[in-house]
Amino acid sequence: MTMNVKFLNPFVEAAHDVLSAEAGITPARGTVSLQQSALTADEVTVLISLVGQVQGVVLYGMSVEMGLLLVSRMMSQTFEAFDNLAQSGVAELGNVITGRASARLAKAGYVSTISPPTLIQGKELRISTFDFSRIVVPLRCDTGEITVHLALRENHSSEPDTSYVQINPRQVSPSAAIGVAVP
């Protein structure tokens, strides 16, 4: 199994830029791995799809505690509950990182459109990206960790590829609580 990492750096650099500007956090990249099995979610997952010359899905996983810390820093006020406002903030953070990464990808010749963010709550939910293997990179901060999952591939066709990754509800454990919010 080989790892196509050309999509990795734009996301790592974008995450670094955005977390630094928005939350005053300078993340350090952990060990990159390639995973094919279904993703076992952290407490909070932001999911954004890309469609175009690069397509698939990007997921950002973190604990509720880390999400609260991020939005508290972004808003310069303490958030104690992971309510709609906090969820909106974490989703927006994923949106801005992905938008910035997609601009970098476009400069490298891979033009894509990103979807609005979806926020999934529920630890240990299983999310399948099917035949898209995932490049997984932890971003370590002094305050916690954000795990970025890139299930992306090139699309050489000029026509939209309808096989891009979607969450299959059957892949989500029925015993786990799940809340989905589209800010």
């Binding site: 939005v71 909106s88 801005v96 997609s102 601009a103």
Partner: protein, 118 residues
Amino acid sequence: MAKILIVDDAEFLRLRISKMLIGGGHEVIEADNGAKGVSIYKSAKPDVVLMDITMPEMDGLAALKEIRAADPNARVVMLTALGQESVVIEAVKNGAKDFVVKPFQPERVLAAIDKALA
């Protein structure tokens, strides 16, 4: 002090920009999609509109066109992510006064409002 309308579907961003603007001495009103933004613009007549691009019901470009059709002197600043350059160009062609790229720097947002008001 100016009356500013923020049109963005992300509640967090509206609140964040709102705090920034109120701190700068401005009055703020909000809408969470383009259609509501057009409706509120017509009734509240704000001095400047901060308009997101990607929104449900009516996107920012369509809302900009409707607002400018209703008021050719409307001052609209687009809120954009990197990667939306083609939409920004289209928005400027349709009368947008300026654009601000996310993540926002407070001074950049306030400068764009000052420029629109000048």
